[in-house]
Symmetry: C2
Subunit: 342 residues, 2 copies
């Protein structure tokens, strides 16, 4: 193979408000690499196949002096996020050519990696598309799977309200909740997402842009479980229409990332209704559940029992646009960048 340009996406500018599709991150090709001959010095080289675009990435686009749960992106350096790469060559005995690696990978075509720390070799006996391993069978699916096991304490016949129910986390939660015998109320921001929520079994669906969550919950509640991906008005409505001892799974707050936050006015319900609010991060829960997840979950996805929907973009140069769309809720399914089709 002749030397090729090793295109990449770098963090260019800390956004205020929504990320700018053209300025926050930029695609460039400063480096040339020959994957067949580049010296490995005991390491291994992968070709990146797919990278994930997730809501939480907005929190990494900050002044690096600010502490938060995920490390900041560094200006001028490539982004990184969950992805899948194929090993081209290896001088590391624990990795062999043809292996597929999942974990945090830089946004570039070719990467030389030292070891497997924090990464996982995917067996993929089920022959899922590799993109599934950054969505329903990756971090978002794990978020739904692990937190449900840890915090939902669901009983058949209970009612759950799931926000961002058209996204990869929310849509997985809908399917788990239906399987557990719950009545599911799901909200999303587009007709397409609502269509998908219906298809996967949500009993009640609404578009939060045209209908107030409180109106729906007044009619379809009260609720026993609330899955929060959004915060703000939906959280307030959930507090208002929660049954005593309801569980709140606090997974994210996308309405609060890019615009002035909405201030919830009824926190008094937390003690008065004996609510339990569980903030969690998948990174923490995964150490407990990773093995059973990989043993069980890809099979269930492959069998068609668990459905998912993707919104792929083909090429690293669309990363900035994809990031913007996810923050705006304009994506039509799990946002993935197909970097290379093998």
């Amino acid at each position: 193979m002749a030397p090729v340009k090793n295109g990449r996406v770098v963090f260019n500018e800390i956004p205020t408000g929504f990320p700018d599709p053209k300025r926050t991150v930029i695609y460039d090709e400063p480096q040339v690499i020959d994957p067949d001959t580049v010296p490995l010095n005991g390491e291994y080289i992968i070709k990146t196949l797919v990278l994930s675009i997730d809501p939480y990435m907005r929190g990494r686009m900050r002044d690096p002096d600010i502490e938060s749960y995920a490390p900041p992106l560094i200006l001028g350096k490539p982004l990184d996020n969950y992805g899948v790469g194929r090993v081209l060559r290896s001088e590391n005995p624990s990795v062999k050519p043809g292996d597929h690696i999942y974990g945090l990978l830089p946004f570039q075509h070719y990467t030389i990696l030292k070891d497997l720390e924090g990464l996982r070799i995917l067996e993929n006996k089920e022959k899922l598309p590799w993109s599934a391993y950054v969505g329903v069978a990756g971090m978002p699916g794990q978020t739904a799977y692990c937190a449900w096991k840890e915090y939902a304490h669901a009983k058949p016949g209970e009612t759950i309200f799931i926000t961002a129910g058209g996204g990869p986390v929310g849509s997985t939660v809908i399917q788990i909740a239906k399987r557990d015998g719950l009545k599911v109320i799901g909200s999303a921001g587009s007709a397409e997402k609502i269509e998908f929520m219906k298809k996967i079994g949500a009993d009640v669906t609404f578009n939060y842009k045209t209908t107030k969550p409180a109106e729906v919950l007044a009619k379809e509640g009260p609720i026993d479980i609330y899955w929060d991906n959004v915060g703000g008005e939906s959280l307030e409505a959930a507090l208002e229409y929660a049954n005593p001892s309801a569980r709140f799974l606090m997974c994210g707050a996308i309405t609060q990332y890019n615009t002035e936050p909405y201030f919830v006015k009824n926190l008094i319900h937390i003690f008065a209704k004996e609510l339990k609010l569980y903030g969690f991060l998948v990174f923490t829960l995964l150490s407990k559940y990773a093995d059973e997840f990989y043993r069980e979950w890809p099979k269930r996805v492959a069998s068609g029992e668990i459905k998912y929907k993707e919104d792929p973009k083909f090429g690293l140069q669309y990363t900035g646009q994809a990031i913007y769309e996810v923050q705006k809720g304009l994506n039509k399914g799990k946002s993935v960048i197909i970097v290379s089709q093998e």
Copy 2:
């Protein structure tokens, strides 16, 4: 005994904002009773010794159509709350003259009761003053004791921030936390309460009326446990200066009961720091912990290990003033009405 007036305190007016010491409840004496001869019809008669005035009572002074955790007070009827009464005569075989009864009792001098449902006969081998059984050895002490066991998950060396630390719940939590090896930050609204917090071992104390909680926590935090009796700005500061995986024991929100609530602006920390917020009511927890509480706790109070402070008023006619002072935070210790000294 000749017939006596059976003075009582009735709920007179639903307050807007703070209760009015003269109008919200009123003392009257419409009934005459002869405790020695009044027919019992298989029931028993008690003389009320002490009644408790608690912050949560504000929530009962509402339109009875509004649902909440504690039943509404009824206009024109006597208040009720935790108290201790001495049995004068009994035709019920499970209760005998001289027994002391603890539980929800009406605000009147003499009451005929049917059975022991919801009530408890106090043995008081420790010879505590009966007033202690509505404070440190009653509902407020139980609140601290039970919720700590259930939700604190405290480890020596951790830091806790306790609001309303001069009150009967908060001051009990301070002492339990110190015994468990924690660094204790306590807030209260008067010099006297701060003095008491220091006396019982709080490491850091401040007056929230003159010092912002966020300033203190910036210097003395971060915190691992937050005990919320107040809500509002203190809760916001606790969220801001919480360590990852901190536990929030959501016990009350007195700043939100009588005035326009302060809207907390940083709920995003709940998921980002994996915080756990446990709303609870002592009524629920008590079924699990009551027996061990009564076995263990009065002894520890009697030995002087657990300290408490009371602010007694002598006579039912001071009920309205006591209720007002508790809502305003003007009480100088656990507010109790000494109805009769035997």
